[in-house]
Amino acid sequence: MEATALTSAYGASGTIDVCRRAAILDRTRALDRFLAGIERRAFRIAQIATGDADDAMDLVQDAMLKLVQRYSTRNEADWKPLFHTILQHRIRDWYRRTKVRNRWRQWLGKGEENPEAYDLLEAVADTSQPLSDRQLELKRANLAIEKALRTLPLRQQQAFLLRAWEEVDVAETATAMGCSQGSVKTHYSRAVHSLRKLLGDHW
């Protein structure tokens, strides 16, 4: 009798443990899928913002870690806006730090770090294979839009990439950028008009 009771108790706790582990495993898989789907675009957003591949990688790494550590228990639908909010915060922090560093460098007479020094050609993958005319044209267009985006103020750049590329809605973009929805609309509209002006009608 006692043995049966013990066995059933062990069985129940064992089942709970297995269920809990399965749930954790499912969530980890879902997170992995989500991050795999967003990581490259996130990297490009950070790279366009910072102009540096290593800095961009650090920012994406921070955003991924924070999402997993703090918000992985939230609904899956919340992950995308949360991830973008974290990433945009990190990008703004990076800008502030760079600004302060540049002020110090100017004060010390070392001159400002030139963000434009980043060679856009480095961003082009060396496929070592001849490219078709179509591919070449897309590559040129990609370099042109990246260069144009980097001339925009950060807020316009963020608004454009989140709204146009990531297709994040106005409310979530406002949360990610830490501003009002009206500001998002204004920044986005200005960004589109500036980019069209910069890239021309034949782009």
Partner: protein, 118 residues
């Protein structure tokens, strides 16, 4: 400036999206590998304890520390009020007169009763 978009703007946005997607496809293999490693490391890290648990732990520790400090600060005052007068009384207790008083305690009781009865 109007925030409404015209057809040309919409076409431009669609084209920009296509070009940016193409840029993602062109990310070099090394960067893709680094991103994968970063993702695997992040997923392996797992969730940390909630911020409220850390706050609660900190608050509990601060309360214990404050309580300990209060008890420690109060202790010398207690010693002062209770023990120092006792030490002062020690001379009276130890004096020869008081020993005699203690020995003749029955006599003093009798004297007190006698006074009371009149």
């Amino acid at each position: 400036m109007s925030t409404e978009f015209h057809q040309e703007d919409e076409q431009f946005i669609a084209r920009a999206k296509q070009v940016l997607n193409q840029g993602v496809a062109g990310i070099d293999h090394q960067t893709v590998l680094r991103l994968q490693q970063t993702r695997v490391a992040a997923c392996a890290a797992g969730p940390t304890r909630g911020w409220w648990i850390l706050w609660a732990s900190g608050l509990a520790m601060a309360s214990v520390a404050a309580l300990t400090w209060l008890v420690w600060m109060k202790q010398p005052a207690l010693i002062e009020t209770h023990h120092v007068p006792a030490l002062e009384d020690m001379d009276l207790v130890m004096s020869a007169e008081n020993v005699e008083l203690a020995e003749d305690l029955e006599f003093y009781h009798w004297l007190a009763d006698d006074d009371a009865t009149g």
